[in-house]
């Protein structure tokens, strides 16, 4: 029975007039409509309010506010995401897995990431004689950058300088204090300190203050290493005194802030000045040419005596050679895509692999199903990985041959040439290996580099024949 006929029957039983029933119905309908309208009004008012105020200034932030928790009071959505970088999630070729370990006094960590050296023992041979052959694990999220560096066994294998903290801690305020207001002076001081001493000056892993101006929230570059590197790169192109903080576009800054650390680097000279080798360009040959001219070596290979280089994590350089960079896509577009929170658009501060967030990271531009996008990315990575394995085999073969020749006491010209080729092959392989995208940031560039690496390794073997 419908409500209408129920009311009608109720009224008929009481014997009241027809108008009363209709009035009652009208009141009921009007009351419900009024209620719904007010609920909607409340919702619209809330959304309008959200759109009006992107944030609420709960606390005053200054250039001295280092603790991200305080920034989080004004920016709770961003802070929530930032805190989620503790997640350990694997992708097919990257990402970390939580491995339990028994904490000790020397290393209080109860969870670490999987060991890459155990996954691929060839890495030990490549890095023989260098601290990385002792302990090298899959990188975890930003939240762990400081502890994972503080407690890696590499700290015992070699004396690490304070320069490392440039990218493993929030150093902005520490530099400012050490340099009495001069960031660069503070940078120079900390670079030379022993790691343990420098560690006393920092508290947090990368924090809000490292990339944001506390007054305007605009992106800013605070790392002297990047400022000096990009200045040298732009000088090579003919731009004098380049300063990203005043001369870069907003979209460029959305990559530059990441490029403050996700780059190839070395410690220059006895003062251990952290330097990005970009004075000749960002391509691998240009980086190598810079190192060769500088005469830099990271270490002498324990088996072959070759002066070799360790590639770090050249994400910025590799990305710069790829199609996404060419199309104007910044790091943050895929690694910190916008997400909708009510009427607000917030960039996702849970920085992670786009493969874990295909919908927001890829599908704003690529109108294909998630599974298709994932398959495309993984196909690129699988191909790169197969090529990387071939390059690794080739390098290990060269190292074996070279070691054999060295042990046999050969000192002829061929040895020197083979060592030079090892340096070339090894840096190329390591460049793709250390780069955290398994080729995705620039697929053809990665393949080209690996192909050259294989060629150099085999050339080296031929010379020794």
């Amino acid at each position: 029975m419908s409500p209408l006929s129920r009311i009608r029957r109720a009224h008929a039983m009481k014997g009241e007039g027809g108008w009363a029933r209709w009035t009652l119905l009208l009141v009921l309908v009007a009351a419900i409509a009024g209620l719904l309208a007010m609920l909607l009004l409340g919702n619209i008012a809330e959304r309008k309010q959200e759109a009006k105020n992107p944030f609420f200034r709960v606390v005053e932030l200054t250039d001295q506010t280092e603790d991200p928790e305080i920034w989080g009071k004004n920016f709770p959505y961003q802070y929530d995401g930032y805190r989620r970088t503790v997640d350990q999630t694997r992708t097919r070729y990257g990402g970390s897995e939580a491995i339990a370990r028994t904490p000790s006094d020397a290393d209080p960590r109860s969870i670490v990431a999987q060991s890459r050296l155990e996954e691929d023992p060839r890495l030990k041979r490549m890095w023989d004689g260098y601290a990385f052959s002792v302990d090298f694990r899959e990188e975890r999220g930003h939240a762990f950058m400081l502890v994972d560096q503080e407690f890696t066994d590499r700290q015992h294998a070699a004396k690490q300088p304070g320069a490392c903290l440039h990218c493993h801690a929030s150093v902005y305020l520490a530099y400012e204090k050490l340099g009495d207001g001069d960031i660069t002076a503070g940078f120079e001081k900390m670079n030379q300190m022993p790691y343990a001493e420098a560690r006393q000056h920092v508290t947090h892993p990368v924090a809000c203050i490292d990339c944001h101006d506390p007054e305007t929230m605009q992106l800013r570059v605070t790392r002297p290493g990047f400022l000096e590197g990009i200045r040298a790169l732009e000088a090579m192109k003919g731009v004098a005194d380049y300063d990203p903080n005043t001369m870069a576009t907003r979209q460029e800054m959305r990559s530059f802030v990441c490029g403050q650390c996700h780059v190839e680097y070395y410690f220059k000279g006895p003062e251990k000045r952290l330097t990005y080798p970009w004075a000749k360009g960002l391509k691998i040959e240009q980086v190598l040419e810079y190192y060769d001219e500088d005469g830099h070596k990271d270490w002498t290979h324990a088996r072959t005596g070759a002066d070799v280089l360790k590639a770090q994590h050249p994400e910025f350089e590799m990305w710069s050679q790829g199609i996404h960079a060419r199309s104007g896509v910044a790091c943050a577009d895929c690694h910190m895509p916008y997400q909708r929170v009510g009427a607000l658009k917030v960039s996702d501060h849970h920085i992670r692999s786009p493969l874990l967030n295909v919908n927001a990271a890829c599908q704003s531009c690529h109108h294909f199903p998630e599974a298709e996008m994932l398959a495309r990315a993984e196909q690129i990575q699988s191909r790169t990985f197969a090529l990387r394995n071939r390059a690794m085999d080739a390098l290990v073969d060269l190292i074996d041959d070279l070691e054999e020749a060295t042990v046999a006491g050969r000192t002829d010209e061929a040895i020197g040439e083979a060592r030079r080729l090892q340096r070339q092959a090894q840096f190329r392989l390591d460049y793709v290996e250390a780069e955290n995208s398994m080729g995705f940031h620039a697929p053809q560039e990665a393949a080209r580099i690996l192909a050259e690496s294989i060629d150099y390794s085999r050339q080296g073997q031929l010379i020794l024949k």
Binding site: A30, A37, A45
Partner: protein, 148 residues
């Protein structure tokens, strides 16, 4: 005593009309009856599309309604009503897919709009293809109105 009921009824009805009316005005209800493209970005969900349109090749010759609503009066307001209902439901409940996607019905309307203005050109293309084939303007020209 017998007047109390009608008075209550009058108050409730009057208050409800006021509530509905105020909500309508507060939500810029009349803007949705207009042709003003800014109305389509009132809730900010379509800000990107609106921004892109303002820099796109069609912005001098077409507003949102020219491509996203039929050109006849009844069709136009029926479409506005359907989309208005769907969009307000989505935005109020927050339950919608992102990135936003066009529905099949709305895609057909846009396709029809292309063919309506560019009839002369399209006729020559269609003449060489079997009718009912896969040929859709939007398949290749997806970004003429706005990117994405």
């Amino acid at each position: 005593m017998r007047f109390i009921f009608p008075i209550i009824a009058a108050v409730v009805v009057g208050a409800s009309i006021a509530a509905v009316g105020f909500t309508f005005v507060f939500a810029h209800g009349t803007s949705y009856l207009s042709n003003d493209p800014a109305a389509c970005a009132n809730c900010h969900i379509m800000t990107e599309q609106y921004d892109a349109w303002s820099r796109g090749s069609h912005h001098a010759v077409a507003v949102c309604n020219d491509c996203h609503a039929p050109h006849d009066l009844i069709g136009k307001y029926t479409t506005k009503a359907i989309n208005g209902w769907n969009h307000s439901k989505a935005f109020t409940t927050g339950n919608f897919v992102e990135p936003i996607q066009i529905t099949a019905r709305n895609r057909a309307i846009t396709e029809h709009a292309c063919r309506s203005c560019h009839a002369d050109l399209v006729q020559m293309i269609d003449a060489n293809h079997r009718p009912g084939g896969e040929l859709a303007c939007l398949r290749c020209h997806a970004s003429v109105g706005h990117m994405q």
